[in-house]
Amino acid sequence: MTAIRMVRKIKGKEKVKEFEDKYKNLQNLQMILESEQGNMLHQLDLENWEHYLENPDEYLEEGKTIFVEGINLGELELDLMHNIKNKQPNSVSELARMVNREAGAISNKVNSLAKNGLISFKHGSKNRKIPILEYDKLEIGF
């Protein structure tokens, strides 16, 4: 099992936009926080949202550590992640074209990256899965 730290640096205003996408507005988050479902992570979100509303140009470095197992992070996988991050393909088929492969040939690898938390999917039109990579760099621990 290998520990990988995924890191990204974003501006406060981008973080605020993410909170808006997640909770719509501050009042909604406050309502959740006061309800039975409210927990300490909602409290953290509220504090951060209020802070970055006041400081939209401040930078925030976000990191998460994931543990991956049974995944080969070779040239193709890194190439796939590079393309997902920098060229934002709208589907796995489009990603396959970017790396000059058939969609079937990369499908397992893309699913394995997602299963291990290195990328994620969002739903596009016509049931398309859009691969997403929100982080800027990977740090691999030994």
């Binding site: 300490m40 992570l41 409290q43 504090e47 951060n48 401040e58 976000e62 990191g63 550590t65």
Partner: protein, 88 residues
Amino acid sequence: MKDGSQNKNIIGDYLIYDNKTPRMWAIVIMPIEIRVDNAHGFVHIHFSHRGIHHKINKTDFDEIYEIIVRHIEINKIIDKKKLWEELL
């Protein structure tokens, strides 16, 4: 301008979130809901969401983080009383 930071790490069966802004820092342990922070001008620990705070003597973020990680590695399951004593 100093950057803020936010990290999520898995230690044993727990998720540890650490959050720093130029104004304050917090460490949250989930799903057990323990929070250590330096809000209101002094470092303290909460043992539940909406729970009261208990003052601790350790004040350095890195030292507190290390104590929490070591506590989980040694005990596997967090013993709240023992953890508090370790932070005093």
